[in-house]
């Protein structure tokens, strides 16, 4: 309780400080000086004139004095603590700032005020601190000095995570980042939305920069496996990551110009820190638990439902009773199909299985003065909960640091990863998604063939008479194989001309290849209807390649002058050349189910296709970081981007301003994107010195422009696409060329405060931002006379505003330590303009989204309902009708949905649709609790999303009451007779009254709170010399989810497009897993 009171007091102080800040600004004078980059601190030995200060430095964790902590005043003086943690230091005056640094600890900035310093506490690097050093495009920077909005994560070796890719790992780790795991499939990763979204049709994913080089995380081409996306981020092992920092605003990200629209995620991989050889080995094994089954009807309930459906189809009761699955005569002579149609199979149990994972990882680092190396190798075999799916991954990384000459240094970052994945179709694929089939397949059928006498054959049963495949056939005989690898490597040379001038050059290449094989068997799977024939088996093969050459050359200049002024300049240019190619072949009807390669398909039905892309970009950038007295910071950045994707015109003049912050250079459009940011470190001001509990208080503000160049490779030119007409292949025009097409321009305003109190026991940061997208890509409708009904142009605009909040607190700091972390994010989106002010209606999975001026983008748009008419009389009184496909007006009757006639014309049709939900959350974030007690530590991460809506497409299929699909138990409540009060309409084949159409019946609250990970580790006290340490881990993933959502799981992302967000298309759900592991250091 005591702690909370302190926090509260600190809070009000901080607010007070904020209010005074404007008044205080005018009073400041100062004299201290230091270099911004802590790694290049130089201490001059000269006769020091100044004030002597004394103090003690202690570990914030243990409160024990630390020996050998380095204390410096930049370019002035420095000292080390003695064995009791005490130090004496000469400072130029009482306005100076001391840097307190030690290996393995955060570097702390401390303003010196007159009087004796209290005990200075510094924290190890695994503590969430505002003094964390982060890697930014312009170099390493302490967050305490940054004017940008930065989020940071330190995976701390990532030893306790398993089956996580860097993107899914980020969930709940940073404020303002909404990481939505795409599905439960191993390696599939997550869609990362940093502060909402900035674009409708271009990407909304952040830019990944790994070790200084752009890491292309896009999946090129469509997978042959429905619902699957190749995730290149899985090639990076979390255990290889040293730190992840995310730039959320425009200031620090502006140097990435037209690629930085959605933030920049800077990932740094492990390099050797010590010269001594370190060997780390870890091994894990985990068990993945089956997801909880959805409650679908049993055989008996399904048969009464089926007879209702058949009756509504017009079959007489006699004809229904004569159907084999309705015939209850068990005599094998008169009814030989009795055993075949009278089983009670739990199909979900046939598809979902409990599985086991294993993972091994070895890391070796070491070296000498000349060369250091860090080598890692990993193997993991992760299984999904869909039977027989898995992901086998091999990773290898070699990072080195070389001191070639005194002035020339180099480092390399080379990685190679290979995955082999066995998948199954997911998502909207009614014939081949085993999860969907398991839900809709009649429970009275069996997976194997059964004879009249009830003998079970080992042969799998054929697809059934109701038109549903056998999921076991897909699992046992189907093949969705993916093999992929990526080489991602770079070499970086630094040449230090003198103390302040450095030139660096980074050259890297990416080579990525994905190979896929597909086989959908003939037996047990329903046929596919092709334009000219029936496809009974399907075969496919695909190769996707991506290659990139990247170069970044830049000069940096660091200079301190006139005692209080500090300058850091960077000027550089990046060149990136990319190529992607996709080639596929799809065939049908191989002779038997054992001939599964594409060459065995029927030659006349085989077709080939692909996609090819080539693009390059040149990004020149300039940054200036200036600080005065280490209290006032100002940064300027500017990028000038040219890209093969931008529009191009005939040369009219050499240089011309084209508006929208762009220039025409030699006819090609060039983006000019500036950004400015400033920060004020209030806590270093003199008037703050009495507030000993305030360690840091900083105000930040930034404004700048960034761009989004994901506008298609060839939209600035006219291209042709192939088309098949009656067996003849030809070319038709594919688009209307737009020579004016350009990057989307996003103006980002950000203001925030960073604060830390009580010796860093409590730290927090709060950010407010406004993202305004102009020149937003949109489809402009044109008259379809020309054969093409729209073209792409930069004609829309929208705005996203929001808040990020992060808090870290050490609540208990005795033998039992308790750290609490809170991350929150919220945003509001508003469309400001659209071409011709026309609403955009997009359709996905039988649902509709509306994007309309003045509203948030992509809102669910459908009918509203209000229960079910109990009687015909009640329906007649309401007087509503539909106009059916034949143009006939049909009134609603008892048992039909009571739709709300919004426009009052008594007809229920498309014009009655209204906004019925918003897939964007009101609030998202996480709570993180870490406990440490002696050799034990416990981490509990709880992530949550609040106030988002989900369109449950799966349930819309399972409660449509309009076909032969098995339904959920809720269908037992269907209206059966006059006067029944229920909210489930009657069963009617083909849904003639549209009762199952897209409406608020299928919109659900997607809020959830999830016990994302629980990790318990024990440091085994060892006295064996050969082993440095041994740790045992137990980790639980997704152990507990609190939600009102009615599907398997409320977290999924069908595609990266915002127009598919929040639609549950039956993807592999997140599953619970428990793992045990050991880590040994040699």
């Amino acid at each position: 309780m005591h702690n909370f009171t302190i926090i509260k007091r600190g809070f009000s102080l901080a607010l007070f400080g904020l209010m005074l800040s404007a008044v205080a600004f005018a009073q400041q004078t100062d004299t201290s000086q230091y270099s911004t980059d802590t790694t290049t601190v130089k201490v001059k030995q000269k006769k020091l004139v100044g004030q002597r200060i004394n103090g003690t430095v202690a570990d914030g964790y243990t409160n024990k004095p630390l020996t050998g902590v380095k204390l410096t005043v930049a370019d002035f003086s420095g000292t080390l603590t003695d064995d009791k943690g005490k130090f004496t230091l000469i400072v130029p005056n009482y306005n100076a700032t001391i840097l307190i640094s030690m290996n393995g600890y955060h570097t702390k900035l401390l303003p010196v005020h007159k009087g004796k310093l209290a005990t200075i506490k510094i924290y190890p690097t695994n503590y969430a601190s505002v003094f964390t050093e982060v890697v930014l495009p312009s170099g390493t920077q302490n967050i305490a000095r940054s004017a940008s909005a930065i989020g940071t994560v330190n995976p701390q070796g990532g030893w306790n995570v398993n089956s996580e890719t860097p993107d899914s790992y980020l969930q709940g780790r940073m404020a303002g980042v909404n990481a939505i795991r795409r599905s439960g499939t191993p390696g599939i990763g997550a869609d990362i939305f940093v502060r909402g979204f900035t674009s409708l049709y271009a990407t909304n994913q952040p830019l990944y920069v790994v070790d200084g080089m752009i890491f292309d995380a896009n999946a090129y081409g469509t997978s042959l496996t429905t619902g699957h996306r190749n995730n290149p981020l899985q090639y990076i092992d979390v255990r290889d990551i040293e730190s992840i920092s995310l730039i959320k605003d425009a200031a620090a990200a502006a140097v990435y110009g037209t690629k930085a629209a959605n933030g920049v995620m800077v990932i740094t991989t492990n390099h050797a820190h010590d010269l001594a050889t370190q060997i780390d080995f870890s091994a894990y094994s985990s068990i993945n638990l089956q997801p909880r089954s959805l409650a679908v009807m049993n055989g008996g309930d399904f048969r009464t439902y089926l007879s209702d459906i058949l009756k509504s189809r017009g079959l007489s009761s006699g004809a229904i009773a004569a159907l084999p699955y309705m015939n209850d005569d068990p005599n094998p002579l008169s009814n030989p199909t009795y055993p075949m149609y009278h089983q009670n199979t739990d199909w979900q149990k046939e598809v979902f299985k409990r599985t086991f994972d294993q993972s091994y990882f070895l890391k070796v680092s070491g070296g000498d003065n000349i060369a250091k190396y860090a080598l890692s190798a990993g193997y993991s075999k992760d299984k999904g909960v869909i039977d027989s799916t898995n992901n086998t991954k091999y990773t290898m990384r070699f990072n080195s640091d070389l001191n070639l000459t005194k002035k020339l240094t180099a480092n390399t970052n080379l990685s190679f990863s290979y995955t082999e994945q066995t998948l199954k179709d997911q998502g909207i694929s009614a014939r081949t998604n085993p999860m969907f089939i398991a839900l809709v397949k009649a429970p009275f059928l069996a997976k194997n063939e059964i004879s009249a006498n009830g003998a079970v054959s080992p042969n799998l049963a054929e697809s059934d008479t109701l038109g549903v495949s056998n999921p076991r056939a897909l699992i046992e005989k189907g093949l969705n194989q993916k093999k992929a690898y990526r080489f991602f490597g770079n070499i970086n040379f630094d040449y230090q001309f003198n103390k302040s001038f450095k030139v660096s050059n980074l050259t890297g290449i990416t080579y990525d290849k994905t190979q896929e094989t597909l086989f959908i068997p003939r037996k047990g799977v329903t046929n596919e209807v092709l334009p000219t024939t029936i496809g009974d088996s399907k075969l496919g093969s695909q190769v996707i390649r991506y290659a990139n050459v990247f170069n970044d050359l830049h000069f940096t200049f660091d200079k301190s002058f006139a005692t209080n002024h500090n300058l850091h300049l960077t000027l550089g240019t990046r060149y990136s050349q990319n190529e992607s190619e996709q080639d596929y072949a799809i065939g049908y009807n191989s002779a038997t189910d054992v001939l599964i390669s594409i060459g065995n398909s029927n030659a006349s039905l085989r077709y080939f296709g692909g996609d090819i892309g080539k693009w390059s970009s040149l990004n020149s950038y300039f940054t200036t970081d200036y600080s005065y007295k280490d209290k006032y910071y100002l940064s300027l950045a500017m990028a000038v981007d040219a890209s093969s994707r931008f529009g191009r015109k005939d040369i009219s003049s050499d240089l011309r301003y084209v508006g929208g912050y762009g220039l025409d250079i030699l006819g090609g459009k060039t983006a000019v994107l500036p950004a400015i940011s400033g920060a004020w470190l209030i806590s270093s001001e003199d008037f703050m010195k009495s507030l000993k509990d305030v360690d840091l208080l900083k105000l930040r503000m930034s404004y700048g422009l960034v761009g989004n160049d994901d506008i298609g490779n060839y939209n600035n030119r006219q291209y042709y696409v192939s088309q098949n007409l009656l067996g003849l292949q030809g070319l038709v025009r594919g688009n209307i060329a737009n020579p004016n097409i350009q990057w989307e321009s996003i103006a980002k305003f950000n203001t925030g405060v960073d604060a830390s109190f009580f010796n860093e026991r409590l730290s927090l940061s709060l950010d407010y931002y406004v993202h305004t997208t102009s020149k937003m890509l949109s489809y402009v409708p044109v008259s379809a006379i020309g054969g093409i009904d729209s073209f792409i142009d930069n004609q829309g605009s929208m705005q996203t505003t929001g808040l990020d909040f992060g808090l870290n607190a050490r609540i208990l700091n005795k033998t039992l330590k308790w750290d609490l972390g809170i991350n929150l994010g919220t945003y509001k989106n508003k469309i400001q303009s659209l071409p011709n002010n026309t609403d955009i209606l997009t359709a996905y999975a039988n649902g509709t989204y509306i994007t309309s001026k003045g509203q948030a983008a992509n809102l669910f748009y459908g009918q509203r309902t209000n229960g079910v008419y109990a009687t015909d009389a009640e329906a007649a009184a309401a007087g509503l009708s539909i106009i059916n496909s034949a143009g006939v007006k049909v009134p609603f009757k008892g048992g039909d949905m009571r739709f709300i006639d919004t426009n009052g014309d008594k007809i229920i049709n498309g014009s009655d649709r209204v906004v019925i939900g918003n897939p964007n959350p009101d609030l998202f974030g996480s709570f993180n609790n870490s406990f440490a007690y002696k050799n034990w530590s416990l981490d509990v991460l709880v992530s949550f999303v609040l106030g988002n809506n989900i369109y449950n497409y799966t349930r819309a299929m399972l409660e449509s009451g309009s076909n032969y699909y098995n339904q959920t138990d809720a269908m037992r409540n269907r209206w059966r007779g006059e006067g029944q009060l229920t909210n489930v309409p009657k069963a009617a084949y083909g849904d003639p009254m549209g009762n199952a159409q897209f409406s608020d019946r299928w919109i659900e609250d997607g809020s959830y709170l999830r016990l994302r990970t629980v990790n318990l580790s024990y440091n085994v006290p060892l006295k064996i010399k050969a082993i440095k340490y041994a740790k045992i881990y137990a980790t639980g993933n997704n152990l507990f989810t609190l939600t009102n959502y009615l599907g398997y799981d409320p977290e999924f992302s069908a595609t990266g497009s915002i127009f598919t967000q929040g639609v549950d298309t039956t993807l592999e759900p997140q599953f619970r897993s428990v793992q045990l592991g050991v880590r040994i250091g040699l």
Partner: protein
């Protein structure tokens, strides 16, 4: 220490709180109406005023059917209604089963019908029940229906006994013995193809049966008029007491020598159910003959399971309905003298009044005395005025000149088996664009029976001379 305990307590209570939350999925799929969890038999057994019917269901074994997973509807008579049930039914297990089966249908009837809406449902004893408004046959539905897991339950205020169908009633009735005995006598023995062994097929695909196949009796009334045994159809059937039967048959015998009784009875069946209150003054028999019905002439009526039976003391057929005008359509020939398919045109044209007609033309067939043969059976023995319509020279017709065609009619009296004799009946000169009927002459058949007619071309092979065209021939009887 106190703090730790309070923290631990807090955590514990959060977990307990979370676990005690009601599961959303269970809540969603929970059955809201308790009726949707019970089956029909349980529902019936739970109703105190249906206890007798529930006992009958149990004793007849229908309880197993009503607990199965198909949808049934039960119209259960209340205990009061069953009090008056015939003891003979209760004591005979077969009759009781039939009786109970007469109240159960393998379908779910979701709502009582409106008075204007009729529904027929097949019952488990293979009979059909008619639902009109809130009436189940003659009983009334009490209160609202109850809908359970596998169907619907209605209680009714009367016991609805199993009804005979029209055929069963006719055979058992003594009201019209002559009619009954005549109808039941016109049966033949035919091969029971369902049970016979097929040993092969002949060249036309007709099955060849093993020697001495099983035979069944088939009544000509079923095949030629209506199968009055069919439960799924509804008929209204008239029965004539002997005196009326004889007098009506006598009226017909001059024209239908030998077939007068069949001619009478074939027009006693009407498709559809006409209860007395809905009986019009004239009905149309299944063969298209008008039946004048006077309600005052109804002696007795019976509501059969598949319709109505009326015993009449008068049913005055009009002779002109029994001996009607008939037409022979040119485009429906029986055969040709020779195969001239390429020269034969079945035409669909518009006449001068813009009305569609179909006819036949055989043009440029290059065959002297080519003929088209027409056939008409059961032609009453009476004098006819015969008219023909043949239109040539219309747009698209190559025959623009006048030509002559002749009509020959088979003479059954002078023909022998080897030498058929056709008498010339009329010669017609077809003039172009004559859209009106041409009177050919009077014709009196030699006897009741078949009319066999040849439309014969000129004795020439020349084009435009030996053409044949006929829209129709109209035979108008000359009645007293």
């Amino acid at each position: 220490m106190k703090k730790y305990i309070s923290h631990a307590f807090l955590l514990l209570s959060i977990f307990i709180g979370l676990n005690s939350c009601k599961d959303a999925m269970e809540e969603h799929t929970q059955v809201v109406n308790v009726d949707n969890t019970v089956d029909l038999f349980e529902k019936i057994a739970a109703q105190p005023n249906l206890s007798k019917f529930s006992d009958y269901i149990k004793s007849t074994g229908y309880d197993k059917i009503l607990t199965s997973s198909q949808n049934y509807t039960v119209w259960a008579p209340t205990n009061d209604a069953l009090a008056t049930l015939d003891a003979a039914i209760v004591s005979d297990p077969m009759k009781l089963k039939d009786y109970v089966g007469n109240h159960i249908a393998l379908t779910s009837v979701v709502a009582p019908k409106t008075a204007s809406d009729t529904l027929r449902v097949v019952l488990l004893n293979k009979k059909y029940a008619t639902l009109i408004g809130d009436k189940y046959e003659e009983a009334s539905v009490l209160g609202a229906g109850k809908f359970v897991k596998n169907g619907a339950l209605y209680s009714i205020d009367k016991a609805v006994a199993t009804k005979q169908n029209i055929w069963e009633y006719m055979l058992s009735s003594t009201d019209a013995p002559l009619q009954t005995s005549y109808i039941s006598s016109i049966s033949t023995q035919v091969i029971d193809s369902a049970n016979a062994t097929i040993i092969g097929y002949n060249s036309t695909g007709t099955p060849i049966f093993a020697p001495n196949p099983p035979m069944v009796s088939r009544n000509a009334y079923w095949t030629n008029v209506a199968d009055l045994r069919t439960e799924s159809q509804q008929y209204t059937f008239f029965m004539l007491p002997d005196a009326l039967y004889n007098s009506e048959a006598a009226k017909l015998s001059p024209y239908f020598a030998g077939a007068d009784k069949f001619t009478l009875v074939r027009d006693l069946t009407v498709k559809g159910l006409y209860t007395i209150d809905k009986l019009p003054d004239t009905l149309l028999s299944t063969r298209g003959v008008k039946i004048p019905v006077a309600k005052s002439a109804i002696v007795k009526s019976y509501r059969a399971s598949n319709g109505m039976v009326y015993i009449m003391n008068a049913l005055p057929f009009r002779l002109k309905d029994k001996v009607p005008v008939f037409k022979i359509e040119g485009e429906t020939p029986l055969s040709f003298r020779a195969d001239r398919t390429a020269n034969t045109f079945y035409r669909l044209k518009l006449d001068n009044a813009g009305i569609q007609y179909r006819d036949i033309e055989v043009y440029n067939h290059a065959f002297a005395e080519f003929y088209i043969r027409y056939f008409k059976t059961a032609v009453p023995f009476v004098k006819y005025k015969v008219y023909a319509r043949a239109i040539s020279g219309a747009a698209g017709d190559a025959q623009v000149a006048s030509f002559t065609q002749r009509y020959f009619i088979y003479n059954p009296l002078t023909s022998t088996v080897d030498v058929p004799v056709y008498d010339l009946f009329a010669t017609q000169t077809v003039t172009p664009l004559n859209y009106s009927e041409v009177y050919l002459g009077d014709y009196t058949p030699k006897q009741y029976g078949t009319l066999d007619l040849r439309l014969t071309a000129a004795n020439s092979t020349a084009v435009n001379v030996n053409t044949l065209i006929l829209d129709y021939l109209r035979f108008e009887p000359v009645l007293p």
